[in-house]
């Protein structure tokens, strides 16, 4: 699934621009960054409600492909700038975390646990 498709599915706004044809193969959803670091797979989409700088740094060290912030929450400008430096695209959707995951699942995005790779 491309970032462009994800933006359409979630009616999302893109904060940190990057190539929208990037392909995201899997997703991981958490507000616990420790869980992202423990259980996520590389090149996944990170779906979260947290908007602090540690989310960007977590996504960077865990090789996440892009981040979706739910419920319209936006990171501050410094955090957006950090993501731009790390070349991590940021999306904001007004959907809840449940609906964000549900819509992406419905369109075929999976966690590594279901789809393998």
């Amino acid at each position: 699934m491309t970032l462009r498709e994800i933006i359409t599915i979630l009616s999302a706004e893109i904060l940190s621009p990057k190539d929208l044809d990037v392909i995201v193969e899997m997703a991981y959803c958490a507000d616990l960054m420790s869980n992202v670091l423990s259980y996520s797979v590389p090149n996944a989409l990170l779906i979260t409600n947290l908007t602090n700088a540690q989310v960007i740094r977590t996504a960077d060290v865990a090789d996440m492909e892009a981040i979706v912030f739910c419920r319209g929450k936006r990171p501050d400008p410094d955090t957006i700038a950090l993501a731009a430096r790390k070349a991590i695209p940021l999306l904001v959707t007004s959907l809840s975390m449940f609906d964000t995951c549900g819509r992406l699942y419905e369109k075929g995005l999976r966690s590594d646990a279901v789809s393998g790779k």
């Binding site: 958490a30 507000d31 616990l32 960054m33 420790s34 869980n35 670091l37 423990s38 590389p42 979260t48 947290l50 602090n52 700088a53 540690q54 989310v55 740094r57 977590t58 960077d60 060290v61 865990a62 090789d63 410094d78 790390k86």
Partner: protein, 149 residues
């Protein structure tokens, strides 16, 4: 590409605006050395967890890294409250983190177990009330495939 590197980062306790910058810089170094991506990911995750621990629990700390063709070695020394019971701290879910740390998405008791999961050797020594030294090794000799998981 030179396959030896060494460096030091200084960490300041409670400085959450910079928390993660040392491991981010280490990741860049490893990427520039052309190491396999799974090795870089394991080393970066372990370093990030260790860095967060120092920033959450200590007053100050130092992270040294050494990379040779055989291994990545990271040593993190901090001056802080130390770990009273290391065995207990290695238990998934055990935490002493205050609520504001958890609101940032950390302090859920996964840090040390996650470091162990990503490295080939982990050594922790600590004196309660003085500080903690954490050292980990990641072997590179088999091109880093696999890992201890």
């Amino acid at each position: 590409m030179d396959n030896n590197a060494e460096g030091t980062f200084f960490l300041t306790g409670k400085d959450f605006s910079r928390a993660g910058t040392a491991s981010g810089s280490l990741k860049k170094v490893l990427e520039n050395m052309g190491l396999p991506s799974n090795v870089i990911r394991r080393a970066s995750i372990a370093a990030f967890e260790a860095e967060m621990n120092a920033i959450i629990y200590a007053v100050a700390g130092i992270m040294h890294y050494y990379v040779t063709p055989e291994m990545i070695r990271v040593v993190l020394q901090d001056m802080g409250q130390g770990i009273a019971n290391i065995e207990l701290a290695m238990t998934e879910g055990f935490t002493t983190a205050p609520d504001y740390i958890r609101e940032m998405g950390f302090g859920s008791g996964m840090g040390l177990p996650n470091i162990k999961k990503n490295v080939d050797k982990l050594t922790i020594s600590s004196v309660a009330g003085e500080g903690t030294t954490l050292e980990f090794l990641i072997n590179l000799d088999k091109t880093g495939e696999g890992g201890p998981e």
